[in-house]
């Protein structure tokens, strides 16, 4: 009995010894980032490096005020909310058709939808930029929002959830004379909330972490989103690394918190990225 226990204990210690160095390498940049963000200005290259001993929160207020971070935050949040809601709204409509309404050529249309996932953004970026320019949308919310409001991945996730609903529910509601609109929003949608959350989390993280497209079409100070704002910030405060790190901590908090609280949904979505 005792011998057995000590063997498992040894096993545990052994496993921990292997994994801890790897965990350390993964986490080290964060420890360094937080420590640096709390140091006095100009003291970044002095110890301690990984665990803070001073707590100078003034970097945060200086970074926050040194660039219009409040504006970047609200811009990004606005774009993210509109994109997330539209992707789910339009996605649910399309997913409903692909899940429940039979018509000739439906599978081909669905395949056409899914095929948009394998078109890399760099393949379409030039014509898209010219189009947005023709619409007079450069430096506007429209440019940040409209090209993003439909996403085949969200449609795929929702359709997979919809088809798992027993057909009897839909048929019973149809016989009662309910419209498709009613069936979708009052019966199907509430039954699929986990998948709705999954696609919302994906879309939010996508918009929050997005850099290239906003960098091209909306690099006006008033319209910058969080990532382009950060990038502009590095140009303005070239070696003010304590400010840099305060800025990066601020910009990382929303996605990291979202991941911590919605880990389950995020990971269930990831395992469906077979096409992405």
């Amino acid at each position: 009995m005792f011998k057995h226990m000590s063997k498992t204990l040894l096993n545990k210690v052994f496993l921990l010894l292997i994994i801890l160095p790897m965990v350390f390498l993964m986490v080290m940049p964060y420890m360094w980032m937080i420590t640096a963000s709390l140091k006095e200005r100009g003291h970044v290259s002095e110890p301690p490096y990984l665990v803070p001993n001073t707590f100078d929160f003034s970097n945060y207020s200086k970074a926050w005020n040194g660039a219009p971070f409040g504006k970047y935050f609200s811009n990004t949040l606005f774009v993210a909310v509109v994109v997330v809601v539209s992707r789910i709204f339009f996605g649910a409509l399309a997913a409903y058709v692909f899940a429940f309404i039979d018509f000739k050529g439906r599978d081909i249309v669905y395949f056409v939808y899914l095929s948009t996932m394998m078109i890399p953004f760099y393949a379409i970026v030039i014509p898209l930029y010219l189009l947005v320019n023709d619409f007079n949308w450069l430096n506007s919310y429209q440019a940040l929002i409209f090209p993003r409001i439909v996403d085949a991945f969200a449609i795929m996730i929702l359709r997979q959830a919809f088809i798992s609903i027993p057909r009897e529910y839909i048929d019973a509601a149809s016989i009662d004379g309910s419209s498709h609109w009613y069936i979708l929003w009052k019966i199907v949608f509430p039954m699929c909330l986990p998948s709705v959350i999954t696609s919302a989390v994906f879309s939010f993280l996508f918009i929050w972490n997005d850099f290239f497209w906003p960098f091209l079409v909306a690099n006006d100070t008033n319209l910058r989103v969080i990532q382009t704002g950060l990038q502009a910030f590095t140009g303005r405060y070239l070696t003010e690394w304590t400010y840099w790190m305060a800025g990066t901590v601020i910009a990382s908090l929303p996605p990291v918190l979202l991941f911590i609280f919605a880990q389950k949904y995020y990971i269930s979505g990831l395992s469906r990225t077979g096409l992405k």
Partner: protein
């Protein structure tokens, strides 16, 4: 009569429900991809003038352009390195995390995944400072063991590996999650049998786990290729392609030529080449693991 009414109603619902998404996809995905093909046949270097039709000239010039060929080479090096190293690390770490004896498994899993949800701009900024030759943490540590640690981002030999390290750091969480899902699917009997045959833990990893991971690994290779081939943010922020084009990846080349030099026709030709490369990788993936068949594995 009723039948007819029903089918008309069906058609209008289908049209109404699909119309908004189809409109957006046509306008912002299908039209641009077709237009990229069209534009790639024109020379258009001045926004004030009309494009001039040049046929395949842009492609011909690209494949004779050393800078472009270099950018393909750099991208391929990055892609192969990041994909394979993160797959190997992911496989090892997933197996450790899958061991029931390991304490804090879920907590560790979350930590490994954190870099994947961290914005690339943030990661790139942290990398710039940690790898600063004079003040960076990495060289502060290295100076204890060597006199002249590398200059990382400004050294032509080290710049690309330093960016690759960032790519691996952000990628490994993904491969861990996918491998963990796949590991749950190996029937326990397989391990029982190999134990009875006298295999030790390492041998059963080699002869039971590895062969069972082949479909997942093939999928991770193609997904990794697609993801890494399109790397852009971290390169723009850390090196802008330098020193002397050693980190100029193909997306950065596209950005520079199309959006800073305004060579839109040439840029469109690069777009089409990127499209074809990703298409070929995707088709290979479908051949190997089926169309969107990940659900079968997980």
């Amino acid at each position: 009569m009723k039948q007819r009414k029903n089918s008309r109603y069906k058609i209008s619902t289908t049209v109404l429900f699909l119309f908004p998404s189809l409109l957006v996809l046509c306008l912002f995905v299908f039209y641009p991809i077709i237009d990229a093909f069209r534009l790639s046949l024109f020379e258009w270097n001045n926004p004030a003038r009309d494009p001039v039709f040049v046929g395949m000239e842009n492609y011909k010039n690209l494949f004779m352009d050393d800078r472009f060929l270099n950018s393909l080479k750099v991208t391929l090096t990055y892609t192969v390195g990041v994909t394979f190293i993160s797959i190997i690390l992911g496989l090892i770490i997933a197996n450790l995390l899958n061991n029931k004896n390991l304490p804090f498994r879920n907590f560790f899993r979350g930590l490994f995944f954190l870099p994947t949800v961290t914005p690339t701009v943030v990661a790139a900024m942290v990398w710039i400072i940690i790898f600063n030759p004079t003040y960076g943490f990495v060289n502060i540590l290295l100076r204890n063991v060597m006199d002249m640690p590398p200059n990382w981002f400004s050294d032509p030999h080290w710049a690309l590996p330093t960016i690759m390290l960032l790519g691996i750091w952000r990628r490994v969480g993904f491969t861990i999650i996918i491998y963990l899902a796949a590991l749950q699917n190996i029937p326990n009997d397989y391990y029982e049998i190999s134990k009875m045959d006298g295999a030790n833990a390492f041998q059963s990893f080699l002869y039971v786990t590895i062969p069972q991971m082949i479909p997942t690994t093939l999928m991770l290779i193609t997904l990794g290729f697609i993801d890494s081939f399109l790397v852009f943010d971290q390169v723009l922020i850390t090196t802008r392609g330098g020193p002397s084009s050693t980190t100029e990846v193909v997306s950065l080349f596209l950005y520079t030529d199309a959006f800073t030099l305004f060579k839109m026709g040439k840029g469109a030709a690069i777009s089409v080449i990127i499209f074809v490369i990703i298409l070929v990788i995707t088709l290979i993936q479908w051949r190997l693991v089926g169309f969107g068949s990940y659900e079968d594995i997980s």
